[in-house]
Amino acid sequence: MSTWKRNLLAAPVLLWIGLLVGVPMVLVVALSFLSRDNLGNIVYQFTLDNYRRVLDPIYLRVFWNSLLLALLTGVITLLIGYPVAYISANLPPRRRALALGLIMLPFWISSLLRTYGWMILLGNTGLINNLLLALGIVDRPLPMMYKFGTSLVGTAYMLLPFMVVAVFNSVDKLDRSLLEASYDLGASRRQTFFHITIPLTLPGIVGGFTLVFIPALGLYFVSDLLGGGNTVFLGNLIHTMATRGRNRPLAAAFSLGMVALALLVLSLYWKVSKDKSGEALFQ
């Protein structure tokens, strides 16, 4: 077979991705430059208004909220998840398999259920408040729901397993003899950790951060259920604009803004790891 004929085999794959990602994305870019009438119908007239509105202080605030949520999610999951990954990777084989199984199991558990669990724990009549009241620590329920922090807890909780698995894989590849060499040369445990372990597991850290950051931008059902819409995030805004708000051009412009934020983090990932395709992220 000629190379041309062989490459023709890829046609169905190209068609699938072209129709479901390529064309729709072009459509979004085109829409973001169009305007709409009062009924929400598209008016075919070129405008930069949508981008001007994205830069409006009110909307910039939404970008900031989402960016902050995604960044903090990345930091929190790293701080909690790194030790988990490090400890589990160093366990004896059987317990290690058990730990890894328990870390991965939540991937299979409904994300709505996991969000809902926090509603039960944190609500005014929730389990944590029941406990605090019963122990006499507080005399009125602590208001814990519908805050920025609630959305953050839910989002970080949801994405924590991604971080742990990413770091776990890189700790796993760590060459133990390098650590021993470091101790032999008189380095303390602390020095070894910060000068050997951290730099060598950096690809896992950055990979985990990327895997957590991108979904954190758009998990709008979590911020909707736990944050109660008190803090507006990009995901909620785009969803409202595209559906009930009937302002599709603006929704398009905001979606592109979200894609831009994702690309920003991805470029960091590509720079630090040598994984050009990004496929290693999902293995």
């Binding site: 794959v13 991705i17 558990i109 709505l112 039960i120 758009g218 259920l225 595209a242 398009a252 999902f282």
Partner: protein, 261 residues
């Protein structure tokens, strides 16, 4: 020193797993609470489960979800395996291109994908329903099948394939009798993963659901927005049991070698 750090490790891990599973367990526990409120525990009941089966909207959403998930898993298994297997024949540049394209749906934020598909299907005048749900779900499922099958293909000894061709097998015979049986376990595991991901998807599904074809997660989401009710707990618990059934199946199929090393 060593024993001390190990002790700390065990405590830290245990606390982490409590944190990880406490929300899940509290949902399950309160599905059996006789009281409507989580404020108090007034005894065990199965009433909330009974109410589920008489709720027609839930039963219908469940039916749609199952149909969508099965079709998605089937489509994704075929397309993902196809993409992985033909990568053995296409030029290396095309292979890299396929790799890059497969990553695309996974790195574009799901909200952006959902919005773009909403606009696209609208422009195409496709009715929103099972078809749009399956097509959109295939976006985040096909790449996983592709990646898992390709990893398995890399493990296959190339000399087996060469000897098959040397002995006069046609390319198709080789694919059918050697390659496909060898990657079959990976395909099945990946398809089960697709099933679970499709059954769990909220974000893309909210954009793709039609007036009479809401998926279960979209329906559950709208129930949850009203607040905490034991009926939702019961529904979530049933979904959890269903998911564990799928995991059990996939564990039977894959060996545990990958985790244990």
């Amino acid at each position: 020193m060593k024993a001390k750090t190990r002790g700390f490790g065990t405590v830290y891990l245990s606390l982490f797993f409590v944190f990880l599973y406490l929300p899940v367990l509290s949902v399950v526990l309160y599905s059996f609470n006789a009281s409507r409120s989580t404020a108090q525990w007034t005894g065990w009941t199965l009433d909330w489960y009974r109410q589920l089966f008489s709720d027609r909207a839930i039963v219908e959403a469940f039916r749609v979800s199952i149909v969508v998930a099965l079709l998605t898993a089937l489509l994704s298994a075929v397309l993902g395996t196809f993409a992985a297997v033909i990568s053995l024949w296409v030029t290396s540049r095309m292979k890299t291109a396929i790799q890059g394209m497969m990553i695309l749906p996974l790195i574009v934020p799901e909200v952006a994908l959902g919005v773009s598909l909403l606009f696209f299907f609208n422009a195409m005048r496709l009715p929103f329903g099972v078809l749009t749900l399956v097509l959109s779900h295939s976006l985040f499922c096909v790449p996983y099948v592709y990646i898992m099958v390709r990893l398995r293909l890399q493990e296959i000894d190339r000399s087996i394939l060469e000897s098959a061709l040397d002995l006069g097998a046609s390319t198709w015979q080789m694919v059918r009798t050697i390659i496909l049986p060898l990657v079959a376990p990976s395909i099945v595991t990946a398809a089960l993963l697709c099933l679970a991901m499709s059954l769990d998807d909220v974000i893309i599904s909210t954009y793709m659901s039609g007036p009479r074809s809401t998926t279960l997660p979209v329906h559950v989401f709208s129930m949850m927005r009203v607040g905490v009710t034991p009926k939702v707990n019961a529904l979530c618990t049933l979904i959890l049991i269903g998911t564990f059934f799928i995991i059990g199946l996939s564990q039977l199929i894959t060996n545990k070698r990958r985790f244990a090393k």
